[in-house]
Structures are given as structure tokens and as C-alpha cells.
Amino acid sequence: MYRETEILKQPGIGTPDVFGDMVINVGPQHPATHGVLHLILTLNGETIKKVEPHLGYIHRSIEKMCESLTFRQFIYVTSKMDYLSSHINNHGCCLCVEKGMQIEVPAKAQVIRVLMDELTRLASHQLWWGAGAMDIGALTPFFHAFREREMINDIMEESCGTRLTMNYMVPGGVMVDVHPNFQRRVKEFVAHFKNKIDEYDELLTGNVIFQNRVKGVGYLSKEDAISYGCTGPTARGSGVSCDIRKLYPYEVYNKLQFDEIIETGGDCWSRYLVRMKEMRQSLSIVEQLIDNIPEGDVQAKTKAVLKLPKGEYYSRVESARGEFGVYIVSEGGTTPYRIKFRSPGFSNLSALDHMARGGKIGDLVAMMAMLDLVIPDIDR
């Protein structure tokens, strides 16, 4: 027997009947989900009645894994969560361990960390721009975005040794000093990208088809953004001030001149604008810091084996997708007793159903593109 529950009385769902709605599985293998996200769509023709995200296809139990790794080791696993902002993930974990151990990070290491964070944010936003445009049907921006992203990857490769999962940050600073070419190449990149970002705007932002596809689509009010726990550009596009770099500054962010970008539209277009403007802000941060890297050590002196005092520690950083939080419970040993990551993608995804109802399938793709979902981040 079928029992009518409260949730089915909600508008838009209705009571299921024999000739029920058309249900479509988008994913886990689908071009628009950029990973193994599985969405169960309930459709009425082309109109979406319900979106049900299913997770678990790329669950690697990173949190559990971290419990058996030492406080130095677990940081490297987090690179594989949000692989597009691995520096920032590492950064959050380092901050948390440093908070517990009360390690003072040298000034040079702080500046290098912030530089790397912002370069990572730029690379992540570039990929979002290209892949998002591809979702909406413009195939060319992808290649333009990757041209610039390649330069950042080369910079990372020189200094960190890897291109995607950097593992560059260690508790107490960064692993090694930056490559001698670092400053020159970053300056080259900044000069190059300043022109190219205008080109991005010419190619996509001003396009009337693109604007029609994103304007007024996926509306999320300020209240809803807060209640779903959205952070990052998703929430800032709805007018919520939530930039951790401004609200809870870490490292040298409080000495820097940059704006928190807030748009009040609440639709995909606002989210798009927030990210486009954030790229310019990140460029300005990189410009401010690149000539002012102080002299000194890149790593504080720490013990070989870190033992966090008994207690609970929480630290947060602003990743490219929103607030990334690290919560460590320590029993005083060499490994965490329990670890919990607050990943921005998970909360942002939870708002998708609310946004998508009443939209078309094409809208759903635009919404997912503008949420900038990274599935391994949602599904740890």
C-alpha cells in the first residue's frame, strides 16, 4: 500500500500515478555532470519537476582514511578531494594543524601560500569558464580557457613538481622555496591573462544567446542560499556576504587590497559575474604580492612527529567553490581521532533541486555549470 507522505503534497511533485512522470537518469555517465554525479530527474515533458542527486559513485572514504594517517600525511590525501583547488584544501588542513600545534608560519611562507591559493583559484575559475561554456553549448571557450590554465599549471609544475595535486603545503609553511623562475613567469602570466580576460568577456559574456541562457535561470534567494548553506560564488551571487578571506582573514589576506564580489541577482548570470570578477580580484592579489615576497625561511621549525594536543580544532579557507572547513578531533596522538571536511560543493549541490524546479533540461545544465560542481569534492 502506498502511503501519502508530507513531502509528496509539496507543489510540483503531486501524487504519483500509474502513468507517472517521465523519470530520467542523468549520470553517473553523462557529459554535463563532469564526473560521476547521478541525478534522477522527474520530468513533465521538458519541464523539471524534481531533481534528486545520488552520491556515492566516487566515495573513497577520505575522512576515514585520514584517521589512520599522521598529521603530516593526511594533508596529501585532501588534494584528491577538490582536485581543482588542491592547494586551498592543503592550506585549510595546514591551518588547522598549525592552530593546534600553535606553529607560527614565517612571513615568506605566508605570502607564497596566498600566491599559490590565488593562482589555484584562477586556474579553477578558468576551467569552470571553459567547461561551463561547453555545457551551455559553446565549444570554443574551453580551449581558450585551457590555454591560460596551462600557463598556471606550468608555474605550479616548476615550483611544486606536480600540475594538479600539488601537495606543496606542509604544517609550518611550504615544502620548498619557489623556483627561481617563479616571479618572472607569474608576471608573464599576469600580463598575458589581463588581456585574455577581456577576450573572455568578448567571446562569451556579451553573447546574447549566452545571456538568455543564464539570466533569470536557477533563482536562489538570499534566504534560501543561507538556509541551504551555500557558500562561495553561489551564495555571493545571491547577495550573501560569505568570503572567508574577508570575514575571517588568514595568512596575509587582511593586508591586501581586494573586494568581496557580491551580486544580488540570485540567478546563474549573477554567479557567472561573481566568478568573472573574482578572477580580476585574484589577478590583483597576485600582482600585489608577487613583487613583495619577503626574505626568510619557507618553513617553521617543527618536530618530526606532530602530536596535536587533545581537543577539537576547526579552520576554514575560501576555496574556489566556497567555504572549505576542516574539523579535527584529536586525542593527543599522532593521528586524528576523527576528521570532518566541510566541502562547499555538497551544500551547493543541495540547493540544485530547489533551483531547478520548473526549469527546462537545458536550464539544469546551465545551473550545474554555474554551480561549478566538482564531484570528488561533494562525494569524499
Binding site: 530520467i24 553549448g137 559553446a138 541562457r213
Partner: protein, 358 residues
């Protein structure tokens, strides 16, 4: 002067002199059939190669460059791969319709070539309702697409097919009105007389504003009719994986793919015939020397040059624009293009009655 027209005429005479009654006609049918199939294959190779090179050029890539000189045989290699691939029919699919659909789409693409005038005097069938034949036959291909989408027993395919149906049926109206503009100016539906009427200047030059409007509307409408980006909602890779041909593989998929490119060629050839003078060379008023030079270029080259220019424009659209949403697509047609083209038709009728065109 050896021209395609002379060759065609000579073959025709020779056949008529050598054989008795039904044979010359049957042999000509055979020759034409072989030629069209050859053209079909050639167009597939050339246009797919061209698409790849154009997209690579726009996307900072090199494109295919390994198989053969500058990657020329890449499409041949791909075709071979598709031929040896298993053509699967999914369980639960309507077997007959599923296997029939790609052939319908392909046959339509071939039949539609009949009234095209490839060069001076080179035409398969100079039917007196030429452009009407185009509009009539091109609307049949939607049946093939609907069949493919329905018979696949796949929800993505079904959505793609329904989108395609709505789209093609809508945009045919605008394309038809744009074609009517030229028909009114020429006073004839026959392709050869439409081309002849442009001997003293192409319609795009002679026809003032209404023909420009009609040309732009025609290009938009045929882009939509051939399911090309930004109107590729029937396939919409990021939304419906591959739309109506999601379940097709091997040669059956290749037929859809080929038919798309041949359709592009056909509509661009029609555009070149109606607006850009078909095989007529470019003439500048009384500049006889210039006109003389232009006449030396063979008429087939003029026709192909114009057609490929339009094909390039359509490819340019694809690699630049994002995709429209289904409701926006239909709004564009019913709220903008259709009223504009209806008004345009009135305007051109007035111009023709008053004799204001050149």
C-alpha cells in the same frame, strides 16, 4: 570549350543514338545514381574534414594531422572503423523502424539534390516546381529523425526527437518565406530560371533590403533545419548525450552523420542558388574587362565556391555560439523570424509590383 555541360550533352546524345527507347533513360538513371552516391561519399569526406580543420583553426588546435598528408585520410580511417563496428539494435527497440530511420534520413538527403544546378547546364532534373520540391522533400527528413527517436526506446532519444520535430516544423516556415521572396522576384519556381534571372546581377545585390533580410532569415532557418549549433537541440550533447541518435552505432550512426553534412551542403547550395546567383560569375556593371576575367572561371567553381563559403559561415556559427534553450528557440521563430519574414514578403511583393528592384 570542354565544359561539364558539353560532356553531359555528349553522353546524352551518344546514348540516344546508340540505343533504342527505354535504354538511354535507364542508363542515365544509373549514371546519375552512381554520381550522386559518389558525391555523397565525397561530400562526407570533404565536409567532415573541413569541419575538423575549421574547428581546429578556431580553437587554437591543429586538427587531424597524422593519417595521410595533413590528415586528409582521417575521415577515411574513421569511416572504415565505423563500417567494421557492430551495428547494435537495443532490446526493446522497434527493430523495423530503428533500422529504417537512418536510411530514410539518408535517402531524403540524396533525393533533395535532384534539382540542384551544379554548373551551367549540369542539373539532374530541371523540374518546373524546383524550389517547392526542396521545401517539400526536406520536411520529410524529420520523419526519419522522429522514427529514430521513437524506435530507440530511449528517453534521451525521444526528447531529442521531439525537440527536433518542433524545431524543424517551425523553422521550415521561415525558410519557406525566405525562398518565396526570390520566387516572387523571379516569377518562377524553376531552378534554372532563378539562376538565369541573376545573369545581370545576383539577387543579393539587386534586391535591396528585403533580399538581405530574407538571406539572413534563410541562413538562420536552415541552420536550425539541419540541426546545427546553435540550434543543435536535437543532439544537445551536454543535455541529451547524443539526442535522437544516442542508441545508434556503426554504419547506422555514420549515415545520420553523413546525412547531416550532405544536408548542410544542400541548403547552402540552395542559398547560393537563390541569393548568390548559382553558377553565375560575379559581374560588375559595365566593367567589361573584369567581367571577362570572371567568365573564364568555370561555372562549377563559382557554384562550389559560393556553396562552400556559406558552409564555412554555418561552421563558424557552430564553433562560436552557445546553444539556445528549446523555448527560446521556438520564441525566436514564432515571435521574431516568422512575423519579420511575413512582413518582408509583403514588402518584396510591393517592390516587385512597382518594379523598384534593379
Amino acid at each position: 570549350m570542354p565544359s561539364l555541360e558539353n560532356i553531359a550533352n555528349r553522353i546524352h546524345e551518344w546514348l540516344n543514338n546508340s540505343f533504342g527507347a527505354p535504354w538511354p533513360m535507364l542508363i542515365e538513371f544509373l549514371i546519375v545514381g552512381v554520381c550522386i552516391i559518389g558525391l555523397f561519399a565525397m561530400l562526407g569526406l570533404v565536409l567532415i574534414m573541413m569541419e575538423r580543420k575549421v574547428s581546429a583553426w578556431m580553437q587554437l588546435r591543429l586538427g587531424p594531422n597524422r593519417v595521410g598528408p595533413v590528415g586528409m585520410f582521417q575521415t577515411v580511417a574513421d569511416t572504415l572503423k565505423l563500417m567494421v563496428k557492430e551495428g547494435m539494435t537495443p532490446d526493446g527497440a522497434d527493430k523495423l523502424l530503428f533500422n529504417l530511420a537512418p536510411f530514410i534520413v539518408m535517402i531524403i538527403a540524396m533525393v533533395i539534390m535532384a534539382p540542384l544546378m551544379f554548373a551551367k547546364g549540369l542539373q539532374i532534373w530541371d523540374i518546373n516546381i524546383g524550389v517547392l520540391f526542396f521545401t517539400a522533400i526536406s520536411s520529410v527528413s524529420v520523419i526519419g529523425i522522429l522514427m529514430a527517436g521513437w524506435a530507440s526506446n530511449n528517453k534521451y532519444s525521444l526528447l531529442g526527437a521531439m525537440r527536433s520535430g518542433a524545431q524543424i516544423v517551425s523553422y521550415e516556415l521561415s525558410a519557406g518565406f525566405a525562398i518565396l521572396v526570390i520566387v516572387i522576384l523571379t516569377g518562377d519556381l524553376k531552378i534554372s530560371s532563378i539562376v538565369d534571372s541573376q545573369a545581370n546581377g545576383w539577387w543579393i545585390f539587386k534586391g535591396h533590403l528585403p533580399v538581405w533580410i530574407a538571406f539572413v532569415i534563410f541562413m538562420i532557418a536552415v541552420t536550425a533545419e539541419t540541426n546545427r549549433a546553435p540550434f543543435d537541440l536535437a543532439e544537445a550533447e551536454s543535455e541529451l548525450t547524443a539526442g535522437f541518435h544516442t542508441e545508434y552505432s556503426g554504419m547506422k550512426f555514420a549515415l545520420f552523420f553523413l546525412a547531416e553534412y550532405v544536408n548542410i551542403f544542400v541548403v547552402c547550395a540552395l542559398g547560393a542558388t537563390l541569393f548568390l546567383g548559382g553558377w553565375q560569375p560575379l559581374h560588375f556593371g559595365t566593367d567589361t574587362q573584369f567581367n571577362h576575367y570572371m567568365d573564364y572561371i568555370p561555372s562549377s567553381l563559382w557554384f562550389m565556391g559560393k556553396t562552400f563559403f556559406l558552409i564555412f559561415v554555418i561552421m563558424w556559427f557552430r564553433w562560436t555560439f552557445p546553444r539556445l534553450r528549446i523555448d527560446q528557440l521556438l520564441n525566436l521563430e514564432w515571435k521574431y523570424l516568422l512575423p519579420i519574414s511575413m512582413f518582408n514578403l509583403l514588402l518584396v511583393t510591393l517592390i516587385t509590383i512597382k518594379g523598384w528592384h534593379f
